[in-house]
């Protein structure tokens, strides 16, 4: 298994290490629910160094990326971040990524750990124009500091006024505890917070500095278990679940990140066709009425007929309910429709509810 630079610290902190797509990472330290709640009410620190980083730089960087992704990156200001799916010609999703724009000639792409190699090859094969494409994943470590207390904690370690960094914006050269970092106001929890990119060599030092700085504010280290329940409540998609090679971003409810009116991009034709013909499937949220926890892959039925399957499901620590997201035939109302979830061969009642389950508290 691959280890992040902070691996030893996770073990010292009592982290329960699991194999996450080939990475040895902590699923929890004290407990998933406790860590989850702490992020919602105070702050949590995540080691997300497994995420992939790819640089695209050169004369044609902007047009190369514009042709690869479904969102529009033309005209975005410098130091802005754009979220976008990246599709195959058939409209299936290669990955979803964050695009950090330094200039029209320099971009940093943040991709899912398990997709890094695939994305890197895809981008290289489909890059039309002049630019260097470099996989720099091994030289970066990434920390996520998330929760309502995040800004106050991080501010203790830097002279840069963090309130200057707006939602989905970044600063490329912030000194935190003397460590040079890229700092963005982004995250995967539904809370305000930052993602911090540093040299791998500085990772342990910064991890410890931030934990120390936040001790009195209730900051705790948080594992992958709570990372998943937090993103789930905020209905943020996870590759391999809500989106995949077999699901289009339109079906997954990401149409605001798909600009069908922009010039040619990979997947455009297929997505335009889907839109015109009407989507066959849509993503819906649901809440269990009967006792049971829905899990990824469970079948969804209406009057005994299969209409789809669960993409993610969990007990929701914030809401105290058993909730799920499912990809279902379109035509099922997104609110108050009665559906059944097949759990261990029994049809248990659920009803559809609007997404997200948890309303984001982003600082804009």
């Amino acid at each position: 298994m691959k280890k992040t630079p902070i691996y030893e610290k996770h073990c010292e902190l009592g982290g329960k290490i699991i194999d996450f797509g080939g990475w040895a990472l902590p699923v929890q330290y004290k407990g998933i629910i406790e860590e989850h709640n702490q992020v919602r009410k105070a702050a949590g620190l995540f080691d997300v160094s497994h995420m992939g980083e790819i640089i695209v730089k050169g004369q044609d960087a902007e047009t190369i990326i514009q042709r690869l992704v479904t969102n529009n990156i033309i005209g975005a200001g410098e130091y802005r971040i754009i979220y976008s799916p990246m599709c195959y010609p058939d409209g299936g999703v290669v990955d979803d990524l964050l695009i950090y724009k330094y200039s029209e000639k320099y971009y940093l792409l943040i991709v899912n750990a398990g997709n890094t190699e695939k994305d890197y090859n895809w981008i290289r094969e489909n890059a039309k124009g002049r630019a260097e494409i470099i996989n720099v994943s091994d030289s970066y470590a990434q920390l996520a500091l998330q929760g309502p207390g995040a800004e106050a904690i991080l501010q203790k370690l830097t002279d840069t006024p963090l309130s200057d960094i707006g939602f989905f914006r970044f600063m490329p050269d912030v000194s935190i505890s003397g460590v040079k970092a890229i700092v963005s106001r982004t995250g995967y929890t539904g809370e305000d917070g930052f993602e911090i990119y540093i040299n791998s060599e500085s990772a342990v030092y910064l991890w410890e500095s931030i934990l120390e700085a936040g001790r009195e504010d209730g900051l705790v280290p948080v594992g992958l278990g709570a990372r998943d329940t937090l993103r789930f409540e905020a209905a943020l998609p996870l590759y391999g679940h809500e989106i995949s090679q077999d699901t289009s971003p339109l079906e997954a409810g990401l149409s605001r990140f798909v600009k069908l009116d922009k010039d040619d991009f990979i997947g455009k034709e297929a997505l335009v066709r889907q839109q015109e013909q009407g989507l066959k499937r849509v993503l819906t949220g649901f809440e269990m009425v009967d006792r049971g926890i829905p899990r990824s892959g469970y079948e969804v039925q209406v009057y005994g007929r299969k209409v789809g399957s669960v993409t993610s499901g969990s007990f929701s620590p914030t809401l105290g309910k058993n909730l799920g997201m499912a990809l279902v035939e379109s035509g099922i109302d997104s609110e108050d429709a009665e559906i059944d979830i097949i759990i261990r061969n029994r049809a248990l009642r659920a009803k559809t509810v609007k997404l997200p389950f948890y309303k984001k508290k982003y600082k804009k």
Binding site: G31, I32, I33, E34, G225, G292, I293, R295, F315
Partner: protein, 127 residues
Amino acid sequence: MKTVEGLKYSKEHEWVKVDGNKAYIGITDHAQNSLGEIVFVELPETGAELNSGDVLGVVESVKAASDVYTPVSGVVAEVNEELEESPEKINEAPYESWIAVLELSDLSELDKLLDAGEYEKYCKEEA
């Protein structure tokens, strides 16, 4: 890892407390610890006839659902309904949080189970 003297243990990490021809069955401290916070318990039906190795119930943590197997055969005489409301009791007090009581149909099956010392040794070897 905690064990309790006088209980019987299975290699699937269930404990059995024998009382005459009845057996209380739950999951061990080791099992609850590796599962993490338990948020859901599915109990068997009273009156159900189970063979050793059958699914007695299901415990679910935040991350995953795990079957609980009965290490002994018998008829379900009683289920611990309190766990439906408070599944976290299994984390807090695993050896008090029995899932079901079985009326045993074959007392000789108890001989195949481990005692506390043997079970601790088994867990160490497994790790």
